[in-house]
Amino acid sequence: MSYFSDIYNGVKTLLTGMGVTGKYFLNSGKGAITQQYPENRDTLQMFERFRGEVVMHHDENNEHSCTGCQKCELACPNGSIEIIWDRGLDPETGKKKKMIDKHIYHFGMCTQCGLCVNACPSNAIEWAQNFENSVYDRTQLTRVLNKPGSKVKAGIEE
């Protein structure tokens, strides 16, 4: 007899599903969850979880927290991150220390997987929310993330 109860349950669950979507249909005039994009550009708020592009956070003293550990470079599956570094003398301690020259981010190759951001031990890089990234020349998508003249924040390496 499970044959007929199957039919009964089948029809019942289908009607339940149609009830849910029917409610959506009737109410969707009030609250569409999508937005009319170019018109609302001024008021547009992107979500914090949105992955636009990778940026490096600099504070007001032009200091960042990247120690040049290269974990992001290793984590990137397609080599979008390149770090050019050298050892230089630390002015305070006088010891030789690893310092980044350029943190290069090839945005044109990036798939926004986020592994670099997860891999960073000092939270130096993070996601930005911008998304209008179309350009005519792909060289414009190669970004140097650390600003000129910036240095590592004190107390990050310990």
């Binding site: 039919i7 599903g17 149609m18 979507t21 969707s28 569409a32 969850i33 999508t34 009319q36």
Partner: protein, 354 residues
């Protein structure tokens, strides 16, 4: 020529007055063809737009709203784009069959429109085996699908065509049997007579329980026959590689696409004719205004089309084995039982008539 072209008596008289009868009938046929082709194109474009609008509402989106007022010219723009697209094909395809297949699909859809009674005198071809004619025609559409798969000379298209063919042929049975259930009440296969019987109450009321069952089976099988979700294995774009029309581009693809929407309209039209009294108004409220028949017909058809769109945007897609199980283990036995039930109802005169 003895084809009952009942579209308009007046046009017939007018044409007969100014030219010899044979020329008049040919001119009449051309006029009717033009009317139906126009209707076909407009209905296709409108249904595509409607589908997108309805889908947007179901999914809490905005939908097309750019081209024209509220996006009403979106599908016209799409059609222009499709016309201007290059027609590509595979080198090793069977060129003749490959090019023939879209026409099979679209011509059968167009021919099926001919027998549908849109209004009292708005029916091109009132044949006395109307229901049989429509069932037979929709089987020819399968040949178009199989030819498309075979002609493409591509194993994925071939598998897709087989899948589509098995689906359409299986569900054809249920469509036929559920219509047969209703034929037991009307006692005629002619659409105009089927409509006349319903002056004493729509058939879904006259046949009550078995008629409602037949309607449910018909809607399920009809949705499946038009390859729409939840039975759209045929065109699961990303999951299955789109099936039989993978190799088609531009307008040839659009023919398959358009035929699907017209078939959907035909399925709804048959349902309206056989279950909901075609162009008859509810309780005969506009009996004195026969030209409102077209309005009632289209209104009822739109409700059923909306129901099919509701199915599409609610239910998840079936797997091929589930699809065949549903047809052969559930719909078909139920359908056969339903026919017996309907026969008993008609035999004992348990039908409800006003």
């Amino acid at each position: 020529m003895n084809i009952s072209l009942t579209l308009s008596e007046k046009t017939h008289e007018l044409l007969s007055a100014i030219m010899p009868p044979s020329v008049a009938s040919i001119v009449e046929m051309i006029l009717i063809a033009v009317v139906y082709l126009t209707f076909f194109a407009i209905a296709g474009l409108f249904l595509v737009l409607l589908e997108r609008k309805v889908a947007a509402r179901f999914q809490l989106r905005l939908g097309p709203n750019r081209v024209g007022f509220q996006g009403w010219f979106q599908t016209v723009a799409d059609a222009l784009k499709l016309v201007s697209k290059e027609l590509t094909g595979t080198v090793k395809a069977d060129k003749f069959l490959y090019n023939l297949a879209p026409y099979f699909v679209i011509i059968t859809a167009l021919m099926a429109l001919a027998v549908i009674p849109f209004a009292g005198y708005f029916q091109a071809f009132d044949i006395n085996i109307g229901v049989l004619f429509i069932i037979a025609l929709s089987s020819i559409g399968v040949i178009g699908i199989l030819l498309a798969g075979w002609g493409s000379n591509n194993k994925f298209a071939m598998i897709g065509a087989m899948r589509s063919g098995v689906q359409t042929i299986s569900y054809e049975l249920s469509v036929g049997l559920s219509l047969l259930t209703m034929i037991l009440i009307t006692g005629s296969l002619q659409f105009s007579e089927i409509v006349e019987v319903q002056r004493n109450g729509w058939l879904i009321v006259q046949g009550h329980i078995p008629a409602v069952l037949a309607f449910m089976i018909y809607m399920i099988a009809g949705t499946a026959e038009t390859n729409r979700a939840p039975f759209d294995l045929v065109e699961a774009e990303s999951e299955l590689g789109a099936g039989f029309h993978t190799e088609y581009s531009g307008m040839k693809f659009a023919y398959f696409f358009l035929a699907e929407f017209i078939n959907m309209f035909i399925i709804a039209s048959i349902a309206v004719t056989v279950f909901f009294g075609a162009y008859l108004s509810p309780f005969g409220i506009t009996e004195s205004l026969p030209w409102l028949g077209l309005f009632w017909f289209l209104a009822k058809a739109l409700v059923l089309l909306f129901l099919m769109m509701w199915f599409r945007w609610t239910f998840p897609r079936l797997r091929i084995d589930q699809l065949l199980t549903l047809e052969w283990k559930y719909l078909l036995p139920l359908n056969l039982m339903n026919i017996v039930l309907m026969a008993v109802v008609v035999w004992l005169k348990l039908t409800i008539q006003f």
